[in-house]
């Protein structure tokens, strides 16, 4: 009986979709546009989080410059203090010679390195913290240490890190808000499409109810029609986004080179899941609400 009902629902959904083709296509188009926007939002959000992840890895490291006259024992003692700190993941001591070698190894410094006489670089302690937000705390500890180079204690740029973190949380909040608005708009669109379909078929619905159809029997075809609309829209949106994603990344990469954008093919799978699921859910929800008033016995 369930199967027969499902067959009936699928048939009438299919018929209704084609019978009101103009309205159905308008709905598909509108939802496609909305899902494209939602998809772009997801892609930009993903790119941003990729960039931020890289950034986080970088700034969760702080190097403490050791003043030249600090005795080695004092450095080792401080290294142990840091290692014992629960906020610290790892500490590495880099001697003046190692620092110079590192400096020279960087191809950007080739010309500059040739002009250096002696070793002007400080020895340093490179500290890796567990949480990005703990960098400031370690910085404070380092500045209080007697062996720190007073002219240039650490490479910590407090404000910048905080601002980046704040910005990233605002951006993700804005992304979520935008997504919510887009979802709401598409629910309203599906609702109105289904209302039109329901209006065309109100006589049929009245007869259905009089001969004893259950609410779900009446509602089923419309909900399926909504899901169909949503899935078709999601497929179109997905196809367009998949085609446009790599060239868009290339384009932005060349325009803003300092942001390490990259094409992430794995994200396509996630995007496909999200869009199809969103399309189906929005379609179902929109038609459920749209048909409610007429179906209530």
């Amino acid at each position: 009986m369930m199967l027969r009902n499902l067959k009936f629902a699928l048939n009438s959904a299919w018929q209704s979709f084609w019978r009101n083709l103009a309205v159905s296509l308008a709905a598909v188009l509108s939802i496609t546009l909305i899902l494209i926007l939602a998809g772009i939002n997801l892609l930009v959000g993903h790119a941003l989080s990729q960039v931020l992840d890289g950034f986080r890895a970088k700034v969760s490291e702080i190097s403490i410059n050791v003043s030249d006259d600090t005795p080695l024992q004092s450095v080792y003692d401080f290294e142990q203090v840091l290692t014992a700190d629960p906020r610290v993941a790892s500490v590495r001591f880099i001697t003046k010679d190692e620092a110079l070698a590192q400096f020279k190894a960087d191809p950007q410094n080739v010309v500059f390195a040739q002009q250096i006489e002696g070793n002007p670089l400080d020895a340093k302690l490179e500290v890796h913290v567990k949480n990005l937000s703990d960098v400031a705390g370690i910085d404070t500890v380092a500045r209080r240490w007697s062996g720190v180079d007073p002219t240039d204690p650490t490479n910590y740029q407090g404000d910048f890190v905080n601002r980046m973190l704040e910005l990233s949380s605002w951006l993700s909040l804005a992304g979520v808000a935008l997504l919510l608005i887009l979802m709401l708009v598409s629910v309203v669109i599906v609702m109105n499409t289904i209302r039109t379909a329901v209006y065309h078929r109100r006589k049929e619905i009245e007869v259905m109810k009089l001969v004893g159809a259950t609410e779900w029997f009446v509602r089923g075809p419309f909900v399926i029609e909504g899901i169909m609309t949503g899935l078709i829209a999601a497929s179109i949106a997905l196809a367009l986004l998949v085609v446009a994603y790599p060239p868009a990344v290339d384009r932005f990469k060349s325009d803003i080179g300092f942001i390490p954008l990259s094409y992430d093919p794995r994200f396509i799978t996630i995007l496909a899941q999200d869009l199809l699921l969103a399309g189906a859910l929005l379609g179902a929800l929109g038609s459920y609400i749209g048909v409610r008033r007429y179906v209530r016995i």
Binding site: N5, F8, E204, V207, M208, L210, F217
Partner: protein, 247 residues
């Protein structure tokens, strides 16, 4: 052939002190007490606006009583849960003045619709629809669309649809209202046959000739109250001044 209703047994339809006031303030029914035994054939008569249609709407639970209780087959309609309603409606066959056929479905499909909604298997649907169309003598027109049928034929399709699921009750609201006298008489014959098979029939009607000819139970409603309940009645109780009560 005609089943005599058993007035002594428990009634299958029972109105107990039923009042109905619409949200607009219109007092449609006042203190209605009515019992219908199984197998009865009952005419509801009365002028337009007297409350006949309200009785029908209460019976199919399109409306709930404002006060009082209505029992059909042991179920109290006013307290029935909404999700139970479809199952109640399946016990009832409904026939309306405007037929309520679906124009985009053929005669066969219109009748089959009542069974499809119940999720009946295809073979069962075919057999039952053929039987119902045979009862109303429309087997030859099963592939015709309603627009190509006469009014009487359309009403016969509606009756076939109302009885295809073998309901215990037939509720008809002015089923002959749109038909000429000869066709109306044909339709009445059908209702009598359905009643003879055991179904209880409640029919709201304005058709004086038919009521007077059949001499069945007549419940007259006037200004929301039962004015008269005769076991073998006529459309008007007072033949001398019919115009007063006529619409």
């Amino acid at each position: 052939m005609v089943l005599t209703p058993d007035f002594e047994s428990r009634p299958v339809i029972s109105f107990q002190r039923v009042f109905k006031t619409y949200p607009t303030g219109t007092e449609a029914l006042r203190d209605i007490n009515l019992e219908v035994p199984e197998g009865d054939f009952l005419f509801l008569v009365g002028p337009s606006g007297a409350g006949k249609s309200t009785v029908v709407r209460l019976l199919i639970r399109e409306e709930k009583p404002t006060k009082g209780k209505i029992f059909v087959d042991g179920i109290e309609l006013g307290r029935m849960k909404r999700r139970k309603l479809p199952y109640y409606r399946r016990k009832v066959g409904l026939v309306f003045q405007d037929f309520k056929l679906l124009p985009n479905l053929t005669v066969y499909e219109n009748v089959a619709f009542a069974l499809r909604v119940l999720g009946e298997p295809d073979q069962h649907v075919r057999d039952r629809v053929a039987e119902a169309l045979d009862t109303v003598s429309l087997s030859a027109k099963e592939n015709t669309y309603p627009a190509n049928l006469s009014g009487g034929e359309q009403q016969r399709v509606a009756i076939a649809r109302a009885l295809v699921h073998a309901p215990r009750f037939i509720i008809a609201d002015e089923p002959t209202g749109n038909l000429d006298p000869a066709t109306a008489w044909e339709i009445m014959q059908l209702f009598l046959r359905i009643n003879a098979r055991g179904a209880t029939v409640v029919m709201a009607t304005h058709n004086r000739e038919i009521v007077d000819l059949l001499r069945r139970r007549v419940v007259a409603i006037d200004a929301g109250q039962i004015a008269r309940d005769d076991r073998s009645g006529r459309y008007h109780d007072d033949v001398a001044k019919p115009q007063v009560r006529a619409q």
